[in-house]
């Protein structure tokens, strides 16, 4: 089978439940680095464990860009999601029928985000579970 193309290689992992987005957790202080760092930039410990980041979180803020950005055509929604493990990540959002609402429960969707040389490039987005 052909290897999938990712928006960035170091943020995805293939497992028994399919693809997941991964971060690094420090074995000593427990802080999470996303995207991954080589060692813990908080306590400088070198031992890090790869962890899957939660697929559910709450929308902290959002904006809709009305210009082409990266490989996305407008409108392109960007959000900040608070994850239960105490990190907040930037993410593209799936545009639904309703307006986004701060505080909404959001769910990660992994799949093609754009095409490159005729091939789908895999990325992540978050989607309002009620929209």
């Amino acid at each position: 089978m052909e290897e999938p193309i990712f928006i960035r290689d170091d943020i995805f992992k293939s497992g028994v439940n399919g693809l997941s987005v991964v971060a690094n957790k420090c074995n000593r202080c427990g802080k999470i680095a996303f995207p991954k760092t080589k060692y813990c930039v908080h306590c400088f410990n070198k031992e890090m464990t790869e962890v899957e980041i939660s697929r559910r979180g709450k929308l902290y803020s959002y904006t809709i860009t009305h210009y082409p950005v990266s490989k996305f055509n407008p409108p392109h929604a960007i959000g900040l999601i608070d994850l239960p493990e105490g990190i907040r990540i930037h993410t593209p959002l799936v545009m639904g029928n309703k307006e986004f609402k701060v505080g909404s429960e959001m769910e990660m969707v992994i799949g093609p985000v754009w095409m490159e040389d005729g091939k789908a490039v895999i990325g992540y987005k978050f989607k309002d579970i009620n929209n």
Partner: protein, 383 residues
């Protein structure tokens, strides 16, 4: 450490000048600064150029046109704080006695640069935020949204800094847009990254601003108006933490605290501030971070009119980046030129009355995992 004096300032028109090259704009600003200082080009001992986009040996290319060669020259890139950084480096050279006089030239031709016509993405081709489509305006739009959601800011509140700064710019001959807008016109202009609209985002601009710094001893041969750099600080943000509350500009707060301490003053001593208002809503957060009002009271402080010319502490009397435009490398030098003209009493119609102490601030650069700018720079000037 020696006192460092701002001996000369010079700037070009800021605007869409696609037929002007970096060399032409930089030369014009440098010549004006040299003339303003009342020195000969050959008096210059060291030179720093500040340019953030497509840069290579810019300062050498500019200064050879006015006969300055065979001295130490450097080119500095630090995103929107490039100009502040270059001034900081020259300030150190003079403060520590390495040189007695030098020049900084900040310059950028944004309208013909590789960034022209695009929303500016974070640096680095493989930066995760760049890949997922985060840009400068979207980063600040996320902050604007939080001001509305968590702080109760109205849509009109977010637009206010743009309203105020555009009104100030009508009195600034160097401004790209000398046009006042109503709050409604600002809110109803084209949406870029909602809630941010076109008139709440700084435009693409070409321009240059130059500053000549020297020791007090050299300055006294040329002038009796000694405008001094009371403190100069450049600091990098934290790379790994996404702020708990993104409307708290904690990096800027730390930076300002150091700048005040080094200058031996407090926020209450400032008579004016020129700061990075690339996006209107960020100015509101900066009021709190710079200690102009207690944390959480930025909106009430703003709505009291405190930051207008004639108010308690005028912010961006020049018109700011929103109306002057933001030629990245030139903005950090331009804010020092602006504060200097107020302290000299030469700012014309927009003059802040009896100004004795002023702050020039620039922040810039974003990377994945951060909601704080990567670089911040502050210079506090006194007379």
């Amino acid at each position: 450490m020696r006192d460092v004096v701002i001996l000369g300032i010079g700037q070009t028109m800021f605007g869409k000048l696609p037929n002007s090259t970096v060399d032409e704009l930089g030369t014009q600003a440098a010549e004006r600064a040299i003339e303003d200082a009342g020195i000969h080009p050959k008096d210059i001992q060291v030179a720093y150029g500040a340019r953030a986009v497509d840069a290579q040996v810019s300062v050498q290319s500019i200064l050879r046109r006015i006969g300055i060669t065979q001295i130490e020259m450097h080119n500095v890139e630090n995103a929107c704080a490039s100009g502040s950084t270059a001034i900081h480096l020259l300030w150190k050279d003079i403060a520590y006695g390495i040189y007695d006089i030098g020049i900084v030239i900040g310059v950028e031709t944004m309208t013909t640069s590789s960034l022209a016509g695009r929303l500016i993405p974070p640096a680095g081709k493989d930066d995760l935020n760049r890949l997922i489509g985060v840009t400068m305006p979207s980063s600040f739009a996320l902050i604007g949204r939080r001001l509305m959601e968590a702080r109760g800011a109205t849509r009109e509140d977010l637009a206010y800094p743009s309203f105020k700064n555009h009104r100030n710019a009508c009195m600034n001959p160097f401004a790209q847009y000398k046009k006042a807008f109503t709050i409604e016109e600002i809110i109803n202009s084209k949406v870029i990254c909602d809630p941010l609209t076109l008139y709440e985002c700084c435009p693409f601009t070409d321009g240059s601003a130059s500053v000549i710094l020297c020791s007090e001893e050299v300055a006294k041969r040329h002038t009796t108006k000694l405008i001094k750099i009371a403190s100069s600080v450049i600091m990098t943000g934290t790379y790994d933490i996404v702020e708990k509350d993104i409307t708290n500009f904690t990096q800027l707060e730390r930076l300002a605290k150091i700048a005040y301490e080094k200058a031996g003053i407090g926020a209450e001593d400032l008579d004016l501030i020129e700061l990075h208002d690339a996006f209107a809503c960020e100015e509101i957060c900066a009021y709190e971070a710079l200690g102009l009002c207690p944390s959480g009271e930025g909106l009430a402080f703003m709505n009291s009119g405190a930051t207008e010319i004639g108010g308690k502490i005028p912010v961006n009397p020049s018109g700011g980046l929103l109306s002057l435009g933001h030629p990245l490398g030139a903005s950090g030098t331009r804010v020092v030129c602006e504060v200097t003209s107020h302290l000299r009493g030469e700012a014309g119609q927009r003059q802040v009355r009896d100004a004795k102490v002023g702050m020039a601030e620039m922040v810039g650069g974003y990377l994945a995992g951060m909601t704080n700018p990567v670089v911040g720079g502050i210079q506090i000037l006194t007379k």
